[in-house]
């Protein structure tokens, strides 16, 4: 698979504080990545390093085939870091023109991208008159100007109201659907869960996990069950090696699986044993549960 970004043993120290510790991971083309981690876990620092604004202490990173210089590579990247940074006295169009000049992009792209984020009718208004949501959307338009190989978003919904958050998410989904590689840093787990296929989990600058979201924890999921013959069911489950932990809470039995089993075969098995289920749901742990489990275990 084509590599977009490779990070090897990256370390960044701010005085005595190690913000990023020996971090390695690879971003492949076409996937949507999430970088997860609590505040201060080194997400923004890592992005800052690969985006040429923070100096690394040791380690390497390389963009694309590793032959282009970082600033040349960044012309093929679209990135937004924390807050939208533009010249307040320029209009949206003038700000984007400046970005076009830096990236060497045709001005014709400006209207096209403003259309995507729904700011076309406000293009001649000065940046300082924009609301935070509009500023963030303009930042996305700016990051998209060069039709980037990869879009990097650092906390894109931070500080926005629910409508703003929704708008940004819709835009991100639309971009992801076009096959653009996306790297999304966030501490909002449901946000990452909704859009990302892969995650990198950081804590205190160290990598805890990197890989597919659904493989984050070795788990086969669990069944939520309800029946009239509760005692019989519990006895049955306890004797079956396919099941591990059992949790009984107010008539709802939660049975964790030790090996893969789908809901219909389980239902069939129960029926054969003479137990009729009034409630059967197979679920996997949410990303939040997985994340907490992962960060607690270490």
């Amino acid at each position: 698979m084509e590599q977009i970004l490779t990070i090897n043993n990256l370390t960044k120290k701010f005085g005595y504080l190690t913000a990023v510790k020996d971090l390695s991971f690879t971003i492949n083309k076409g996937n949507v990545y999430g970088i997860l981690g609590p505040n201060g876990s080194g997400k923004s620092t890592t992005l800052g390093i690969v985006l040429n604004v923070v100096n690394r202490t040791s380690g390497q990173f390389s963009w694309f085939d590793g032959k282009t210089s970082t600033h040349e590579a960044l012309k093929k990247v679209g990135a937004i870091i924390e807050r939208p940074n533009f010249y307040p006295y320029m209009t949206a169009q003038q700000n984007l023109k400046l970005v076009c000049k830096i990236k060497g992009v045709d001005y014709a792209k400006i209207d096209e991208k403003l259309e995507i984020v729904g700011l076309l009718d406000r293009k001649d208004h000065k940046f300082r008159t924009y609301s935070l949501g509009m500023k963030q959307r303009l930042a996305i338009a700016s990051a998209l100007l060069n039709d980037p190989e990869i879009l990097i978003l650092d906390e894109p919904t931070n500080g926005l109201d629910p409508q703003g958050i929704h708008q940004i998410r819709e835009i991100i989904k639309k971009i992801a659907a076009n096959g653009t590689t996306i790297l999304l840093a966030s501490h909002l787990l449901d946000e990452v869960e909704k859009v990302c296929s892969h995650v990198v989990v950081l804590r205190k600058g160290e990598k805890l996990y990197s890989g597919r979201v659904d493989e984050m924890i070795n788990s086969h999921g669990f069944f939520e069950l309800k029946t009239d013959k509760e005692d019989e069911l519990v006895k049955l489950l306890e004797s079956d090696t396919s099941f591990g932990k059992l949790k009984i809470d107010n008539g709802l039995i939660t049975a964790f699986l030790n090996q893969p089993m789908d809901a219909s075969s389980f239902n069939k098995l129960m029926f054969e044993k003479g137990i009729v289920l009034s409630h059967l749901v197979k679920r996997k742990e949410s990303l939040e549960e997985q994340f907490l489990q992962l960060t607690d275990n270490n």
């Binding site: 701010f14 985006l51 040429n52 604004v53 590579a73 533009f86 006295y89 400046l98 830096i102």
Partner: protein, 275 residues
Amino acid sequence: MLRLINLELQKLWLNRTSKVLIFVSFILPFTVLVLSSIKINFFGFFTLELGELGIFNFPIIWHITTFFASQFKFFFAIVVVSMIGNEYSNKTIKQNLIDGLSKKEFILSKFYTIVFFSLVATLLIGIASFCIGMYYSSYTEASIVFRETEFLLAYFVKLVGFFSLCLFFGMLVKRSAFALGFLFVLYIVEWLIFWGAYEVLGTADSAFKVKNFLPLESMYKLIDQPVQRIVMTKFPEKTEIAYDYAVHWYEIVTVIGWTALFVFLSYRLLKKRDL
């Protein structure tokens, strides 16, 4: 190179404050020059015509116009420090780098703009002096007209040097007002060094020789004050007021050296810094 100047000019030109300041720094010395060259009649009591004093004669006019025009360099100095200060306060410096501008290109775009502005200022002053001189001067032979045009070169080098110093202070403190304050601090520091050199070397003359190599003084010394020279032309018999007002090659080299150092240090600062 044109791309980088173009970038910076867009940033400056769309900002109302810097547009006004650039305008003022071009127009003001020009207006003063033109006003001083016309005959002013004070309500019939007397007429003041500076041209009559012979200060618009070639070749002394080159010396006089460049000296007085360089007093207006502070307006553009404000533009230079604010063009750095704004990039930091708007965090657009970070965005520029993320968008694919290298740190070297960032500094160069500022430096090229400084050179570009100094060049335009020098050309304007050159053309204005030439026109006024042709009108007033008693001598208009080409050999006399173009004598001492090295003052124009000195003016250009002086502007580039001074603005590079502002660029460095801007990068150093990131705030426009503090950067201008630093200029004043440097001015005092240079006098302190002069005082120190005087204590060590014993004479004011040798202490001045040390001070001549410091940034602000070396820029000032490029074009010496012309007043004494005007007096000299009126009283040629008074030899004790004679002084060395010429532009020397080593003065130019000193200022170019400082310029190179300031631009290099600005780059180093940016390269080392985490934004």
